[in-house]
């Protein structure tokens, strides 16, 4: 009885099986073609990317790299209270100046009011969020009035930017004035 209702045509099954196999083969081929070689080497990512990440160019060096050539500044900068300030903060990144050990370009020199702006980035008393006692803060133009100089004076007229107390100390010594207690 059952036999009568059973179809003898299998072509549709064969067709489906055929397309499934083709699809599977295509998927495997596509995977091989499009998936990067090192994908899944260490996890679900391209393993060779770690090597690429390691080889990103180092553009900022350390102060020591600058001192290699700029010897006179080294003596001043390393001895003064600004020794923790990075050269590259004010002058720009090392890589713009030196590439592969060779001179490329002069870094821009800060002048006039640019210098004042740089000083006040750290030393502006008006910004109260800074922790007290950490560094010396000044309010402008009160500081200038206090020191009895004209209010259009620039910071670097009294302070050597690489060691802000260098000239002050020298002047005090010359005048025989007592040295102020160093704050840290």
């Amino acid at each position: 009885m059952d036999k009568e209702y059973k179809s003898h045509y299998y072509s549709h099954v064969v067709r489906i099986a055929f397309f499934l196999v083709i699809g599977g083969v295509l998927a495997v081929v596509a995977r091989g073609l499009f998936l990067p070689d090192t994908m899944g080497q260490y996890g679900h990512y391209r393993g060779s990317n770690i090597e690429e990440q390691k080889n990103v160019e180092v553009r900022n060096h350390t102060n020591e790299s600058c001192y290699e050539c700029h010897r006179p500044i080294r003596l001043i900068h390393k001895a003064g209270v600004h020794q923790t300030v990075s050269c590259e903060f004010c002058h720009g990144p090392y890589a713009d100046h030196i590439q592969d050990g060779k001179y490329v370009e002069k870094l821009p020199v800060k002048r006039d009011m640019e210098i004042k702006a740089l000083c006040l980035r750290c030393h502006n008393k008006v910004i109260r969020a800074r922790p007290e006692d950490s560094i010396k803060m000044v309010a402008m133009p009160q500081h200038l009035e206090e020191k009895k100089v004209q209010t259009d004076h620039n910071c670097n007229q009294c302070h050597m930017v690489h060691d802000p107390l260098l000239w002050i100390k020298a002047a005090r010594e010359m005048m025989g004035l007592p040295m102020k207690e160093d704050k840290k």
């Binding site: 260490y42 990317n49 160019e57 900022n60 050990g101 980035r121």
Partner: protein
């Protein structure tokens, strides 16, 4: 002089070969970069990293930001922008200014991400200021990173030594990770059209250098080191009693970025 003439007469071809070879070799010396020699000149700020060619290091790096020390000068932001040529308007690291008045109202601002420093005081605070401080922000390098979990193409991944990195070639710029990050440290780089973020200067660390922002911080508010090294400053800070915490601990991401002296108002 006599020798040279003799040499030429003996074998003209060999002589020309030698002279030419010497000239070419000499000129090549001028052209070939002295990159390797330069690298060795750099100080090794992280001991044992230079010469470590293994894929993953055995170290466990942590980053500690001392909120009580930060003066908001923006050195870190400048160094970061220079290191990666970050496009304007995007920030891999930035410094926020928090102001809390005596009505417990919190005001936060970060003009240009702190890149130009803080030049003006805020004048729009209605009540007397109770507390004010700076909070530098950067990638938290989570132990359970949400960004890695959502990436559909495996472009963002976590290395075995704890760095979350982005494969620029693999990223399709869908922006899922940017939405998933609870700390909003990711941005879509308009030049490469891929996701980008702070890497704790992976390339510098692997060469034995401190991250660019840590290296330039004038007040040592940013600290970076190996937690497996029992003599390191970060180990001492995390072991000894301090007010130390992470951002959004409730998110369960377990960041490796810790804050020293963090106030509860900071998000």
């Amino acid at each position: 002089m006599i020798d040279i003439k003799k040499e030429i007469q003996k074998d003209r071809r060999a002589f020309i070969k030698n002279v030419l070879g010497g000239t070419i070799a000499g000129s090549l010396l001028l052209v070939i970069p002295a990159g390797a020699a330069l690298d060795s000149k750099l100080p090794e700020q992280l001991p044992g990293m230079r010469g470590d060619d293994s894929v993953f290091t055995e170290k466990k790096f942590v980053f500690i930001v001392d909120v009580t020390a930060c003066i908001g000068c923006g050195s870190c932001c400048v160094a970061d922008k220079n290191e990666y040529n970050v496009p304007d308007g995007n920030y891999r690291t930035w410094v926020e200014r928090y102001i809390i008045d005596d009505h417990d109202e919190v005001f936060v601002d970060s003009p240009n991400g702190g890149l130009d420093g803080y030049t003006e005081p805020r004048t729009d605070i209605p009540f007397p200021v109770r507390d004010t401080f700076f909070v530098p922000k950067l990638c938290n390098m989570c132990e359970k990173p949400s960004c890695v979990q959502v990436c559909p193409v495996g472009a963002t991944y976590k290395t075995e030594d704890g760095f979350i990195l982005i494969d620029k070639d693999r990223c399709v710029g869908c922006g899922y990770c940017i939405q998933a990050c609870p700390y909003s440290v990711r941005y879509l780089n308009p030049l490469t059209r891929t996701a980008d973020k702070c890497t704790w200067c992976y390339h510098r660390v692997r060469k034995g250098l401190l991250p660019a922002c840590v290296n330039v911080c004038p007040v040592h508010a940013r600290k970076f080191g190996d937690l497996n090294d029992k003599t390191s400053e970060v180990y001492r800070l995390l072991r000894e009693p301090h007010v130390i915490s992470v951002l959004k601990p409730g998110m369960g991401n377990k960041p490796a970025l810790h804050y020293l002296g963090l106030r509860r108002e900071v998000v």
